[in-house]
C-alpha cells in the first residue's frame, strides 16, 4: 500500500492510486461522473464516490458542498443529470426512494421522518407490517410486530418501549428509532446524514456501537458530518467535497485535521478568522449565579468592552438558554445581572434592549427573520422600539437611508431593500438580522451561532464584522458549536456542560482538546 502522499490533495480521483491505497475488495457502491443542476445552481459537478463493504466512509465539506445532494441521489430522492451509479459493479437506476431501498440502500435523513401519532413499532415496520389473514381480509399482526421490534432493539441494545407513541420520545430517542428503522432494512448501504446533531454524548457512543455492529455485518456506511472528531473516531475512508466538486479521498488514518480543513475550505484557517487584538475595557456585563430552574445553574462571568467571550459546549449544554435568559426572553429564576455596574432585573427583551443589549438568535427561520416581510422591514423592526418614531409615525426617510447605508456596509446582496427576505440566501438573511441589531447601536452583542448554515464567503465577512465591532468597544458573547470559530474568534472561552459552567480558557491556552475536555464534563 502506498502512503497518502501519493494521493495529491487537489488532484482528481485517480484509478491507479486508489487501487493502491484501498484493498482489492470490490466496491459495494460506485458513483461516477455525477452531475446535478438545479435552477440557477450546479449542485454537483462530475462527482465520484466509492464505498467499500464493512467500512465507514465519511463525507466532509462545508454547507453547500453538495454532500446532501449526492446522498439524495444515491437514495433515489433526486435523479442525476449525468453520470452512473453502480451497485456491486452493476449499473443501476434509482428512480424513487423505494427503488433505492429495494436495491439495498437505506438512508437516515437529517430531518426526522417519523409519524408522531403512531407507535415506535408501527413506525419501524411501516409498509412492511407482518400480517395475519382471515382468508378474505388481512390484519396487522401486532404481537408479531412487537416481537420483531423487541428483537431488533435487543440486538442494537436499544431501551425504548415499542408501544409508546413517537411524539412522547425525546428528539434523541426519535433519532435512535430512525436509525433502528434504517438498520431493520438490512441494507448493504446505510446513509447517515449528520446523525449525531440531536444526540448527547452517551447516545453518540451508542450510535457508534450500532455502526460497529453494522460494519461487522459487512454493511457500507456513508456518514455525513461536520464534526471532525467523529471522522477520526469512526471513519475508515474520508471523501472531501467543496462547492459541488469532488476534491479527494483519503484513508482516515493517513491524514489529519488541518489537511481536511484546508481541503474543505480551500484556504488557510488564519484567513477565515481575522481576529484583531483590541484593548479590553471595563466590565460591561456581569452575571452572578444566574440560574433557570431545570435548565442551567450558577452561571457567573464578567464581560468587558471590546472582548469577545466565546461560549462553547455540546448541543444541549444550555448555552442558548443562558443567552435567552440574559436577554429576558426567559427570565432567570435566580441570580443577578449587572450592566455597567448597575443591577438590572431583565424580565423582557425590552428591558435588555433599553440598556443596549442585542441578541442574534440561533434559529434564523424560527426566531429571526420575518420571512414574508421585506429586507427593510426586517432590518427596522427592533430599532423602532425607541428611535425613528415621532408621535407613533415612523420617520421612514431617515430610517431607510440608514438601512441603505448598512446594506452597503455589510454587503447584503439583494436587488433592493424591498425584496422579501425569504428570497435571500442564508448568509444575506443573517447579515440583514445583524443589521437589525446594529441599528439599535448595541453595547452588548450576544450572537448565537452567528454563522450556522451560511456559506464560507459570508462566514468570513461576518467574522471580520464581529472582530471590527469588538474593536469599536462592543462587548460580544458568541455562542458557537464550531470549534475553529470559537478558537479563532474568542478572547476568552467559557465552556458549559449539562447546564453549568465547567471552566474558562484564555485565548492563549485554549485548543480543541482543552475545550472538549471541559465540554464533556
Amino acid at each position: 500500500m502506498s502512503s497518502s502522499e501519493s494521493l495529491g490533495f487537489h488532484e482528481p480521483f485517480n484509478e491507479e492510486q486508489i487501487a493502491g491505497v484501498f484493498a482489492e475488495t470490490p466496491y459495494l457502491l460506485e458513483v461516477e461522473g455525477v452531475r446535478k443542476a438545479f435552477p440557477g445552481v450546479v449542485a454537483l459537478d462530475n462527482v465520484q464516490l466509492r464505498i467499500r463493504p464493512g467500512t465507514v466512509h465519511a463525507l466532509m465539506g462545508e454547507n453547500g458542498a453538495g454532500k446532501s445532494t449526492l446522498m439524495k441521489i444515491i437514495a433515489g430522492v433526486y435523479q442525476p443529470d449525468t453520470g452512473e451509479i453502480r451497485l456491486h459493479g452493476k449499473p443501476v437506476k434509482l428512480p424513487t426512494p423505494l427503488a433505492a431501498l429495494d436495491a439495498g440502500i437505506a438512508m437516515i435523513h437529517q430531518e426526522l421522518n417519523l409519524m408522531p401519532y403512531m407507535t415506535v413499532a408501527e413506525n419501524v415496520w411501516i409498509r412492511r407490517e407482518p400480517m395475519k389473514g382471515l382468508g378474505f381480509m388481512d390484519f396487522v399482526n401486532h404481537a408479531e410486530m412487537h416481537r420483531m421490534t423487541e428483537h431488533l432493539f435487543r440486538r442494537l441494545n436499544i431501551d425504548i418501549d415499542p408501544e409508546i407513541e413517537v411524539r412522547y420520545l425525546t428528539v434523541a430517542n426519535r433519532q435512535i428509532v430512525e436509525i433502528a428503522k434504517a438498520v431493520s432494512f438490512e441494507s448493504d448501504i446505510l446513509i447517515m446524514d449528520e446523525p449525531t446533531s440531536a444526540l448527547t454524548e452517551r447516545e453518540v457512543e451508542h450510535l457508534f456501537a450500532i455502526i460497529a455492529d453494522q460494519k461487522a455485518h459487512g454493511v457500507g456506511i456513508v456518514y455525513i458530518t461536520h464534526k471532525m472528531d467523529e471522522v477520526f473516531t469512526i471513519a475508515d475512508d474520508v471523501s472531501v467535497f467543496r462547492d459541488g466538486r469532488y476534491i479527494a479521498t483519503h484513508l482516515a488514518k493517513d491524514i489529519n485535521r488541518d489537511i481536511l480543513i484546508k481541503e474543505m475550505v480551500g484556504r488557510d484557517l488564519d484567513a477565515m478568522f481575522p481576529k484583531e487584538t483590541v484593548p479590553i475595557g471595563d466590565v460591561a456585563l456581569s452575571v452572578k449565579n444566574l440560574s433557570l430552574e431545570g435548565v442551567f445553574r450558577d452561571v457567573s462571568f464578567d464581560l468587558r468592552k471590546g472582548e469577545i467571550l466565546g461560549l462553547a459546549g455540546l448541543v444541549g449544554a444550555g448555552r442558548t438558554n443562558v443567552a435567552e435568559t440574559i436577554f429576558g426572553v426567559t427570565p432567570a429564576t435566580s441570580g443577578e445581572i449587572f450592566v455597567n455596574g448597575k443591577k438590572l432585573i431583565v424580565d423582557s427583551p425590552q428591558t435588555a434592549m433599553r440598556v443596549g443589549m442585542a441578541l442574534l438568535t440561533e434559529d434564523r427561520k424560527d426566531t429571526g427573520c420575518f420571512l414574508v416581510l421585506s429586507v427593510l422591514e426586517n432590518m427596522e423592526m427592533a430599532v423602532l422600539q425607541d428611535r425613528y418614531v415621532k408621535n407613533g409615525f415612523v420617520d421612514q426617510r431617515t430610517l431607510t437611508a440608514e438601512c441603505e447605508k448598512l446594506k452597503g456596509m455589510l454587503r447584503i446582496k439583494t436587488p433592493d431593500l424591498y425584496e422579501r427576505i425569504e428570497n435571500l440566501s442564508g448568509g444575506n438573511q443573517q447579515k440583514g438580522l445583524i443589521a437589525r441589531w446594529l441599528l439599535t447601536k448595541p453595547k452588548i452583542l450576544i450572537l448565537d451561532e452567528p454563522t450556522r448554515g451560511i456559506d464560507v464567503g459570508a462566514k468570513a465577512e461576518i467574522h471580520r464584522l464581529i472582530s471590527k465591532l469588538a474593536g469599536e468597544g462592543l462587548a460580544v458573547i458568541m455562542i458557537s458549536s464550531e470549534m475553529p470559530e470559537i478558537l479563532g474568534m474568542s478572547d476568552r472561552i467559557m465552556v458549559m456542560h449539562d447546564g453549568h459552567v465547567t471552566g474558562f480558557l484564555d485565548r492563549s491556552e485554549a485548543d480543541q482538546v482543552s475545550i472538549m475536555h471541559l465540554a464533556s464534563g
Binding site: Q385, G392, V394
Partner: protein, 347 residues
C-alpha cells in the same frame, strides 16, 4: 408584495412622507391585480346587462349608491378583520358585536315620544351618548377577545367564536328580542345619505396610513410574520395583540352604530353573517390568512367586488342561491390564485 406603493392616499402627515423608491423598479402591486379583477367583473356585468336586460348596469346612480352603501357597513368590519388577520389571527365576532353595539346605541338614542323606551329616563340624549355607548360595547368585546388570545393562549378562532355566539346572545337578551325603535333624528343622521360611505372611506384611509406609516402598523405585520421573532425584537406581542383586537371591536361597534342609525332601529339580528363577508373581502383583497401580508387598499377593492357581484346578480335576476354558489367559488379562486402567485415567486 411588500413594496412601497404610493398610489393610494396621500403621504401621511408630518414625518411620514412616503418613502422614496427608484421609479421603474416598482413591481406590479397586489392591489393592481385585484383592481384589474374588479374592472373585469364590472365590465362583465355591464356587457351581460346589455345582452340580457338591454340596460346599463354601471351607469345607474341609484344602483351605484346602493352598492357603496352596502359595502360601507361590512367594509368597516373588513378593515377591522384585515388588521387582525395580518397579525395571524381571525375575528369571527364582528357581526355579533355589531348587533349588540347597535342595540346599546339605539337604546340610548330613543326619543321621549316612545312610551316603551328601554331607558325611559334616558331619552332625548345628545347623539354623543349613543355614539360612545355603542363604541364602548365594541371596545369591551374586542378587549375581551384580545385578552383571551394574548393572555391565555386560546386560539383566535375559538376565542372569537365564543364571542360571536355570546355577543349575539347579549344582543337578544338586551331587550328580550324586541327591536329598539323611534330613534332621535340627531342620531339617525349618522346613517343618513352618504354618511356611512364617508365614515367608511375616512376609516379606510386612517387605517391604511396606520398600517403603513406608523409603528403600530409595523409591529402588526411583524407579529403576523413571526411572533417569536417579534418578541425577541423587543415587541410586546401580548399587549399589541390586545390593542389590535380592541380596535377591531371598536370598528365593529362603529359599524353597529351606523347600521342602527341607518335603519332607525336596533335589532338583535343585525349583522348576521357579516363577519364572513368581511373575511371574504379581506381574503379576496390579498391578505394572507397565514399573517404578515395584507393591505387595506386590497380589502376595500375586495369589498367592492363582493358588492358589485351581489348587486349584479340581482340586476340580472339570478336566483340568490346561485349567487352564493358563485360567491363561494370566487372566494376560493381568489385565494388559490394568490397561493399560485406566491409559489411562482419562490422558484
Amino acid at each position: 408584495m411588500s413594496n412601497e406603493v404610493k398610489t393610494q392616499a396621500g403621504p401621511a402627515p408630518g414625518a411620514a412622507a412616503a418613502p422614496e423608491k427608484k421609479p421603474g423598479k416598482r413591481k406590479l402591486s397586489a392591489e393592481m391585480g385585484i383592481l384589474l379583477i374588479l374592472v373585469g367583473i364590472a365590465a362583465l356585468f355591464e356587457i351581460m346587462g346589455w345582452i340580457f336586460r338591454g340596460d346599463t348596469f354601471l351607469f345607474n346612480p341609484q344602483r351605484l349608491f346602493i352598492i357603496v352603501l352596502q359595502v360601507s357597513v361590512v367594509g368597516l368590519l373588513a378593515i377591522a378583520v384585515t388588521q387582525v388577520i395580518i397579525t395571524g389571527g381571525i375575528d369571527l365576532s364582528s357581526g355579533s358585536v355589531l348587533a349588540i353595539s347597535a342595540m346599546v346605541a339605539a337604546s340610548l338614542a330613543q326619543t321621549s315620544d316612545n312610551t316603551r323606551a328601554v331607558y325611559p329616563a334616558l331619552t332625548n340624549l345628545p347623539f354623543i351618548f349613543p355614539l360612545i355607548g355603542g363604541l364602548l360595547v365594541g371596545i369591551l368585546a374586542g378587549f375581551i377577545n384580545g385578552s383571551l388570545i394574548a393572555r391565555t393562549g386560546i386560539p383566535p378562532f375559538i376565542a372569537t367564536l365564543g364571542m360571536m355566539v355570546a355577543a349575539r346572545g347579549f344582543a337578544r337578551a338586551y331587550t328580550g328580542g324586541q327591536p329598539v325603535s323611534m330613534l332621535s333624528p340627531n342620531f339617525t343622521w349618522i346613517g343618513s345619505g352618504y354618511m356611512p360611505v364617508i365614515i367608511f372611506l375616512v376609516t379606510a384611509i386612517i387605517f391604511h396610513i396606520a398600517l403603513r406609516y406608523t409603528r403600530y402598523g409595523k409591529f402588526t405585520y411583524a407579529i403576523g410574520a413571526n411572533p417569536q421573532a417579534a418578541r425577541v425584537s423587543g415587541i410586546n406581542v401580548g399587549r399589541h395583540l390586545i390593542i389590535v383586537y380592541t380596535i377591531a371591536g371598536l370598528l365593529s361597534g362603529l359599524a353597529g352604530i351606523v347600521t342602527a342609525a341607518r335603519a332607525s332601529t336596533g335589532q338583535a339580528g343585525m349583522g348576521l353573517g357579516y363577519e364572513l363577508d368581511a373575511i371574504a373581502a379581506t381574503v379576496i383583497g390579498g391578505t394572507s390568512l397565514a399573517g404578515g401580508i395584507g393591505r387595506i387598499g386590497g380589502t376595500v377593492i375586495g369589498m367592492v367586488i363582493l358588492g358589485i357581484m351581489t348587486s349584479g346578480f340581482t340586476f340580472l335576476g339570478v336566483d340568490v342561491y346561485y349567487q352564493d354558489i358563485v360567491k363561494g367559488v370566487i372566494i376560493v379562486a381568489a385565494v388559490a390564485a394568490d397561493m399560485y402567485r406566491q409559489q411562482k415567486r419562490k422558484v
